[in-house]
Amino acid sequence: MEQAVRPAQPALPEPGTRPRQNIGYWRKYGVFYLMMAPALIVLLFNNYLPMLGSVIAFKNVNYQVGILRSPWIGWDNFDYLFRTTDAWKITRNTILYNAVFIALNLIVGVAFALMFQAMRSRRMAKLHQTMMFLPYFLSWVIITYLVYGFLNPDIGVLNKTVLPWFGVKEPVFWYTDPKWWPIILPIVNTWKGIGYYAVFYLAAIVGIDREYYEAATIDGASRWRQIRSITIPLIRPVIIVLTLLQIGRIFYADFGLFYQVTRNSGSLYDTTLVIDTYVYQGFIVTGDVGMSSAAGLYQAVVGFILVFVSNLIIRRISRDDALF
């Protein structure tokens, strides 16, 4: 019969010493807590306490009795939200636009980067790179002014100058006709953001060891072949990580783009209303707390799942680039 084995006892402290771990820990690391405190306080009020506020979506908020005492209505707000066609429209708009943006960022970004690298004159390349990056630093308000310069129905460049060149005499009412915006918005978004992606891809391309190309040239590969077989495959990790990061955020739209550039024109909502602007309209403008908070929670939860999953995938590919 086996003797039950006694679990090992923790070693008794040596005579003459005492375990000082706790006090020692605080003496050593207490400062760190002090350092982190201000940021933690900001996070508490700016991020974490509002998370508790998500509960608003399940209540019929009556400001007079206050949020805490407002009646609980469970999923009613969500029922109402998803029964309208709005829910489908805003989801579709958000995802489709972001998908187009992601595709354009990738294609145009890589294309530009390849062209920059191929240019013979470094000075010219730097000049063009500088100009290409400029729109990134402009705010959406400024970009709205720039777009307005083109799309102003009476005196904008398009209606007054460019269209007549092509023989189109009738002005197009850009700000009230929804069908043009699925084209306008991607153009504006790419124009503004491409600098960022082109620079990233360029950095990756420049980092490729020259010897690969030299070996390929010796083997007689054409430049196109080299791009296809060396450059693109070697920057694949960067492409995938950047793309995945964007896909993770596919449920979040750039508020500035959709609110400012469209001048928040209601007649365009069919093709320009996204979840973020819908929540804003519903909550701040209309004051419909129920629907907007339901939409907000919907976005937060789906957004969370997407970001989380995409980050897990990124972890597999390139550990350094993952968030956790």
């Binding site: 900001v42 509002p50 508790l52 506020g53 010219m124 000049l127 508020f255 908070s293």
Partner: protein, 309 residues
């Protein structure tokens, strides 16, 4: 080294044909024009005569130039200057405080010997993963903190950006040699001293990069003014530009005087189109001027650091 600044380091596989090179150059001249022309258009319209603009439309080559738009802005400069002041204050103070807060959080979580750094990292990272949305955010700042119409409401939301904290953490962990810290501790330095006299001076690159990005965030923001400011005084320049596009009267410090003028003299025309564009020039100007200087550091920060997405 992927430094884009040292032109020598760029390697090309082999030279492309002159024909292809010309094509690419032409394309990029075209694209550069696309980037520059809208700004030039705004500039030229601001220097145009209002009636000409209304007749001929916005044009790069107006038939009649005029300074009346700027004249108007100069006469009624109070609001614009005030908004500029708000923008500058919020940007400067916000960036400095933000860098301080974020660096003080990033440093402890970068220290390998700090046992609980995982938890605090997670607390930071989680804010990227889950965002409660506009409604609770708004309610927090207005109903709980009562910060409507306060400048603090323009600063606090951007003080701690988890992404930048992570960038700083990576930099502290990889670029500040742990041995340096250890030897400082042996010499008897306390944590604050190590942080202030060793870590921060070594971290100027990341502080500069993140600082630039923070400055950009604050300067370009208009959303916070839209949400939280209801008076005409505490709004920043971007928001004022936005309102001016909606309603040109918004530029005037004295809307009632303006209405009175209109009532007496219905023919009085505010040169709205040109003044709007002058407003835009005033708003864009600083960025375009500062751009050549800071864009180098910005690109360096993007590519050399661990900033991805």
């Amino acid at each position: 080294m992927t430094s884009l600044q040292a032109g020598r380091k760029w390697r090309k596989a082999d030279e492309i044909s002159p024909g292809a090179d010309i094509l690419i150059n032409v394309f990029f001249w075209f694209y550069t024009a696309i980037c520059a022309l809208p700004l030039l258009l705004v500039l030229m319209v601001s220097f145009s005569d209002e009636k000409t603009v209304l007749l001929e439309g916005y044009s790069l080559f107006p038939s009649k130039l005029s300074l009346s738009a700027y004249d108007f802005l100069l006469r009624d400069w109070l609001n614009v200057v005030r908004s500029y002041g708000i923008s500058i204050f919020v940007t400067a103070v916000g960036t400095v405080v933000s860098l301080a807060l974020m660096a003080m959080f990033a440093y402890p979580i970068s220290r390998r010997d700090f046992k609980h750094r995982g938890i605090f990292s997670f607390i930071m990272v989680f804010t990227i993963l889950y965002n409660a949305g506009l409604v609770p955010f708004y309610i927090m700042y207005t109903q709980v903190l009562h910060l409507q119409n306060s400048i603090l409401a323009l600063m606090i939301p951007y003080l701690v950006q988890a992404f930048f904290v992570l960038v700083m953490r990576t930099f502290f962990a990889n670029s500040v040699p742990y041995e340096l810290l250890e030897s400082a501790k042996i010499d008897g330095a306390g944590e604050w001293r190590i942080f202030g006299q060793i870590v921060l001076p070594l971290s100027l690159p990341v502080l500069a990069s993140v600082g630039l990005l923070c400055t950009l965030n604050y300067w370009n923001d208009w959303f916070l003014s839209m949400l939280f400011i209801n008076d005409n005084i505490h709004i920043n320049i971007q928001y004022r530009m936005y309102k001016a596009l909606q309603d040109i009267q918004f530029l005037s410090s004295n809307a009632s005087a303006y209405s009175a003028i209109l009532a007496q003299n219905p023919n009085f025309q505010l040169p709205s189109e040109t003044v709007r564009m002058a407003m835009a020039v005033v708003g864009i100007g600083p960025i375009v001027f500062a751009y050549p200087f800071f864009q180098r550091y910005f690109i360096q920060g993007l590519t050399v650091g661990a900033v991805k997405g």
